[in-house]
Structure formats: C-alpha cells, structure tokens
Point group: C2
Chain length 388, copies 2
Amino acid sequence: MYNYFSSNFTLGILGGGQLGKMLLNETRKYDIKTKVLDPNPEAPSAIACNQFVCGSLLDYKTVMQFAEDVDVLTIEIEAVNIEALRDLAQQGKKVYPSAETLAVIQNKQIQKDFYKNNNIATSRHFNFASKVELVNHLKAHPNLFPQVWKAATGGYDGKGVQVIKNLDDAKQLPDVACLLEDLVDFKTELAVIVARNSSGEVKSYPVVEMEFHPEANQVEYVLCPARISDEIAQKARDLAEEVSSKIKHVGLLAVELFLTQLNDVLVNEVAPRPHNSGHFSIEGSYTNQFEQHLRAVLDLPLGDTSTKQAAVMVNLVGDEAFEGNVLYKNIEHVMSLKGVTPHIYGKKFTRPFRKMGHVTIINQSIEQAREIAAQVKSQLKVIAHENA
Amino acid sequence: MYNYFSSNFTLGILGGGQLGKMLLNETRKYDIKTKVLDPNPEAPSAIACNQFVCGSLLDYKTVMQFAEDVDVLTIEIEAVNIEALRDLAQQGKKVYPSAETLAVIQNKQIQKDFYKNNNIATSRHFNFASKVELVNHLKAHPNLFPQVWKAATGGYDGKGVQVIKNLDDAKQLPDVACLLEDLVDFKTELAVIVARNSSGEVKSYPVVEMEFHPEANQVEYVLCPARISDEIAQKARDLAEEVSSKIKHVGLLAVELFLTQLNDVLVNEVAPRPHNSGHFSIEGSYTNQFEQHLRAVLDLPLGDTSTKQAAVMVNLVGDEAFEGNVLYKNIEHVMSLKGVTPHIYGKKFTRPFRKMGHVTIINQSIEQAREIAAQVKSQLKVIAHENA
C-alpha cells in the first residue's frame, strides 16, 4: 500500500472543470498532492490543486509531458489524448480509466457496438461514416422514423444528440460520423454509478431517476432513490455492474439507462468518471462519488454507497434570456429552505443553458425533497448582472 | 443583499490552520473569493484560497494591511490582534466576530468574569495577576484543593490548563496571569455550537458529548447526539443560546459545558469560531459548521442544524512514541469500515498528541457508530516514517 497522505505522491488529473473542482475537495480532505491540466487558465480547478498546468488535453506531447512526474493519472473529462494514455501505461504509469476503456467510450459508434457485441441490453443502432451514408440509409428505410441521431464524437450536455422525425430533419444535420438509434419509448431515465478499483472490488450506488428539461435536453432533477420497484432497481444495478465488468474500467462508471414501458432496462450510454447524476452523493451518501473515484483509482477500499437520507439534485443552468457576468438571483431565499445546499462551479460568465452549478436537497422523504426542489427551481435564476 | 458568488467580493480569514482549510471547502463550494493570513508559509490553508499572505496574526500593522482590500473579515483562531480588529470596525469594515466579543473570550479571566456578571451558570473562580498572588491565595485557603488552574491567555488543546491538588503542584506552575476554578464533579462534558448572523437570526446544533483522553486532556471522541435526556439537552441548548445572545457574537460560538452529577449544566468555556466539537457536522448535519459560519458572517439565512444520522468523531493525534514525517498506519483498514471518513489536515510533521486529523463515523445508531469509532481508534495510528 502506497503512502498517499501528506506525502510526495502526486495524482495527475486531466481536466479542470467542475468535476475536477469537486474531486479536489476530496484530495484536500485526504491531503493528497494533485497536478491538474486544463486549457483554460481560469478553470474551476485552477486553485485548490497543488500544481496547475495550462495546456491542451488533446495534445499528445502536452499530456505526455504533464504526466512525467505524476504517480497515478486520472481524468475528469473523456475528451483527452488517448494515444498518450496508452503510451504512458506502456511505460508503466498507472492510468485510470485505461486508454482501452476510454477508446470504447469516447466514440459512440464503438460504444454501441461494444454493447451489441457483449450482449448488453441496449436499443438497436446503425453507424454511418458520413451524412451521405446516413441520408441514403434513411431513403432506403422510409419507415424507420423517429430515430435518435448522435454524432460519433464530441457530444456533450445534449449537444450532438437530436431526435429526427423525417428526411428533412436529417438533411439539416452536420456532415460527421454518426449513428442512429431506435427512439426508446421509456417511462423514465435512470442512472447507476459503479465504482471499481484495480484490485477488482466493485460497488454500485442506488439507482437514481432523472427528469430532463424538455427543450435543452439537460437533466433538471436527479432523484435518489428512484421511484421504482426494488425488482427494477436490482435489474438496473445488475446491468450497470455487468457493463462495468465487461468494459474493465477502473474508477467510476456512470451508466445511464432507459426504463421502457415494458419494464425492460436498456443501457443508453456511459461516462467513465464522476457524473452529474452522482452529485446528490456529496450530501446524501456515506461516501460521495468524488471520494469514491479517488478510492478506486488509488486502489483503496471502496466506501459504503448507501444513502443517509433521500436526495434530489437540481441543475443550475444559465437562464435562456441572459448572457453575461453571472448573478444567482434569489439564492438567499433558496438557502433558507430546509436541507438545501447550493454548489457554485465558479464560471463567471453565464449563457443560455450553461451548467453553472447545482443544488442538493436532503430530506427524510423523497416526495418532500422533490417539492423543495421545485421551489428551488422556480425561485433561483441564473441571470446576468445589470451592469454587465 | 451583496452578491458574494463568483464575484469580486472577498472574505478575509485570519488564520490558516485546519479550521481555515475546512472553511475553504465551503468558500470553494460557493465560489466566494478568499484571502488568508497565517505566519506559516506551509499552513493547511495556503492553497485553496484565492490569495495567501504570510504574516503574523498578532501584529497590528500586518492585520491592518491585510484587511485593506477585504470586504468581510473573520477568524479561524482567537489569537489575533484585537486592536486592529477594533480599528478596522471603526473604519467601517465588517469584522465578525467583533473585537469586543474576542476581547471577552481571549482572556479567560475576563471570560469567567463575564459569565459571573451576566448570571450565566459556571463554576466559581478566582483571578490572579501573578504566581505570587496565586500561591498566597492558596496558602490562605488550604482547604480549597483540588482546583483547576488556567493561564489567562495562550492556552490551547489542553495546554495552559492543569488540575492542582496541593501547594507543591501550584509552585511548579509558570508565573503568568491565571485563574483558579472549582473542579466540577461532572458526569460528562457536552458542547453546543450556536450560529448567529448579524441580522440576529440564531440557530444551535444538537448537543454533543465529549470523551477526553485521560492524559493529553484532548477530546478523543465527540458523539452526536449526546446520550442524555431531552430535558437536559434542551437546558444545554438554552444555556448556549443565552451565552451567544449576551456575548453578542456573530459567526459560530462553540460552547463547552459540564453536566454535573446533580444534572446541572455549567458553562466551561467558549470559542468564537468553528470548533473540533462540530466536525461531525461535515458528514452528519444538513448544514455543516463551516458552511454555517460562512452563512453567519455573510448575513445569509442560517442553514438547518438537524442531523441526517448519528455521528461520532475521533480525533487523530500524533502517537506519543513518534516524532517525524507522518504516516497514517492502517488508514486503508479504517477506510473499509462502514460510514468512515478520515480528514487529514496536511501537517507533514507529527509529534506526540499533535492534532493531525479526525475521522467521522456516520451510522443510523449512535451505539454502532461508537463501536466503529473504537475500532478506528485502536487500528489507525499516527506514527512517523521509518526513513524520517
């Protein structure tokens, strides 16, 4: 067992966004040295790490050089140079998640093929190298609509994902490698976060339920526990753990799932890192997802994933009518509600639907937590300064 | 209402020890700008603040200069230059707690006189300007023993406090201004943390019970809730809130109490800041004490002080047989226990009884939490490296 605590051991983190910022709370708690790489000099993680390096996550040389003096390398965003990760691992560096796992996840075509080839329940899909291929396929199958179109790479927070209802919709799409998925007629979207350390210990969190904003295709509320039967919850956790074991990831894996009208559970997509759907765990769980990620990549024993009380998480996204220096209107009202904790990510500039923070509501009753969450949502507005 | 979040508002913090470090977790959560003053360039708060200034907390000029560009000034340690705080407040700077409150608390003679003059239940005491005065008093009252001797200023973590049983004990004491208190025959020691913002909103936390290390006079376990009747708990909270209101503090006030054999509750002493007895709240409470301190000094609404589940906090102090670069022996075993969260303060060097960290245990049952805490205590050792 390595001595990680108040020692010279250094954890390298690729990415310095809000996920990295929340991860740094945990490295600070354990006094574990950190070094962060991000292209933005004002990234949320630029302070609270021991060393900040400003540079591209996608540049091979930058990543190789950054990792030279770190002992373990991890990520807080998938869009990193995979070739560098592969070479670092070959040189003996500990890299979690691995380049192999990331390669499967980074490209949604490969990710969907992986589910199919491994008999993991998911919706039917078709891959296309270009827009021409896509359009030809749709012309040949006029009864296929509606379909979900996804860009193979680069999608984030609902970007690069679109429901298409006819050929005209398809013709508006960008010309990129992409895939089509059957539109799943789901009751609700669920998610399970699975932790796995390099010794192979596995623990999953309780199933959460996600409510989406109808327009922005971003998660508005995350509820833990999900309001589903124990049987369905077990099915969802089993499926998530199956993905984790088959994809051989180390760290956290957030598995997004559909619960269909027929009570089937299908994998939608995964993220190999702490995830928006696990933010509730900071206040709600014995072990929060960021601490769990640390434990996993350092091969420490995983922490208990049970929850202290029910939790609802509300995303704070920029109001669609504002762009400018951020102002959290009515935050003081929201802070007077029972069991409410806002998290402000530290982005100075707001724009429509930008993820600016989140609010967690803890309560003995999930129904009451959901009610308070609705109050939070209706009161707290992410707007811009008048003087901006 | 001032815009504190992701703005140029700056909170100044005098002191950069572990309490400051944990406070910075909360300023980071809210993206509130901070500036920290501490004489130690390697202080636990030297990172995670926005600006760190290395300098003396007791030097008038240093404190005045430090505070020039901060909007609100607070403390994480009482030993600061009070004159500077008084002058800053007169210049219109917001300073919480106030110089007046700190002046009462910094000097234990004045603190005890304050209780007496305000009819706050406390043990009987006598003040002395010097050791000669003390010894003369004891010679004149040979039946007074045992007594508790306290230095008027400079005491910390059990230093500056001693039980004296006879005149010989007294003769060994340093020659400083001091006081004697009647030794209280107590069942247990309790503590209540009271928060008060500048609008006068007051909230107290549930009563905690403290178990002390017999030799080091340091708290070994803090249990929340205390294992006492509701009636006694109410009496303790009422007394703590009475102290808070009479001392007119703003921020957190940790009130340490004795529960006597006759079920009387007496004030022992207070600290005007986040406190060791409130660390359980990080994992145990809806609103942890550090966030509550922030809310109080920024005049935001105070958060709910109820607890999610039972909690026990174990202090991690340096093993008495070791001095050198710290090693947390068996920390990985402790991390595999249910609901256990270690906090490492970031001091590289351990010495006997030095406060190096703490561990929180969360459980539905306080008895089970206490059992796990005993396991933590017996397994986890704060020792020095072999190669140190």
